[in-house]
Symmetry: C2
Subunit: 200 residues, 2 copies
Amino acid sequence: MRALTATEEAEIRERLTAIAPLSPRTWAAVRALGTRSSLDKGGFFSRPQEPATRFAIVLSGLLRHYYTDGRGRESVKAFRGPLELSGPYAELIQGRPSRTFIEALTPVELFVFRYADVEAAAQTSLELSHLLRRFGELQFVAKEQREYEFLQLSAEERYQQVCARFPALVQHIPQHQIASYIGITPVALSRIRARLGRRR
Amino acid sequence: MRALTATEEAEIRERLTAIAPLSPRTWAAVRALGTRSSLDKGGFFSRPQEPATRFAIVLSGLLRHYYTDGRGRESVKAFRGPLELSGPYAELIQGRPSRTFIEALTPVELFVFRYADVEAAAQTSLELSHLLRRFGELQFVAKEQREYEFLQLSAEERYQQVCARFPALVQHIPQHQIASYIGITPVALSRIRARLGRRR
DNA sequence: GCCCTTCGTTAACCCGGGTTAAGAAGTGAA
DNA sequence: TTCACTTCTTAACCCGGGTTAACGAAGGGC
């Protein structure tokens, strides 16, 4: 378990500062709470039934958040890449066991926090409390954006949004996972792609 | 503009306390920031283009959050009833102009806050900061639940969820607004209801 | 009373996406 | 190399929901 490189530290700090102001003291406290950790491709950062206790900042690699229904059908909630935050957030908030798989799509390096530690620190730090709040708010905005896409966009339009927003992702991720992310089957996505290809 | 009744005060306080702990001092500060206000049926608490500056606790009545796309098609994001919070939350958070209509479906009594006031107060109050955080987290959980419903439930199942969760609402709200809430057309909802009726 | 609007229902037709199945191409392991 | 597995594509068929239109019922305003 290596320490953070100077570059990684700077990146994380900048990332957090973009969410909310972060004094040197608070940053030092946050940094001390995290530990570096890695996952092999195919490994899991979270699985259903496990207690939800940790979240992480992605240092490198790509993760996928998903769950399965009773009949084993997967639904992809999100993909997370470098400097994004990953974890079973809804379950952490609610103090419930995890219901979501978080899987490494590539080898992944993480900077991991125990949620309870951060929460405890936020009890005495306005800055940290504010950071947690801003973080929750951003998560909310992202979900509302997704709600908008389901309410007002067709599957084809949702696919084009994904292509526009995460061009790198579309290259490197199995297509059926993108289909699941936009709420359709792999076959349907294949047809959409054929349609778009023909049309151009 | 009347003051809050003792009952209303107690209800609001209990409601906020259920979100996060609230000392007498903090409660007094919060209460002092709000003002009572009312809307006639059909009135708007928020409209697109307006600056997003306020949110409110519903004292009585029913509100509907929705937006329209370019072609005037409405999509309902949420319904809000007594003791729930209403406001263009995503826009408040982001400091952007409102994009959502918030319409009174019945005459409505509100206890209104200016978001900037509450934010400012949270700069010096850990308790208030925590309250805002918990509030954002709950909003997030609600949206994630909605994402789940779009990803894994059919329109018919989504309708049954609504019936189970908001039985009162289904009685009193125009059906086409419920259709919009679950992401289908009024005609489709009518067919689903006919199907369900036949089946039982 | 009347008109007008809103709301819900039903029917006909179309189309997008689900389902199943088959096959092609690529990848990895034995 | 061969076999197995995954991924993607295409086709055929079905079904749910969108669209349009017509109709009836309910409610408000005059």
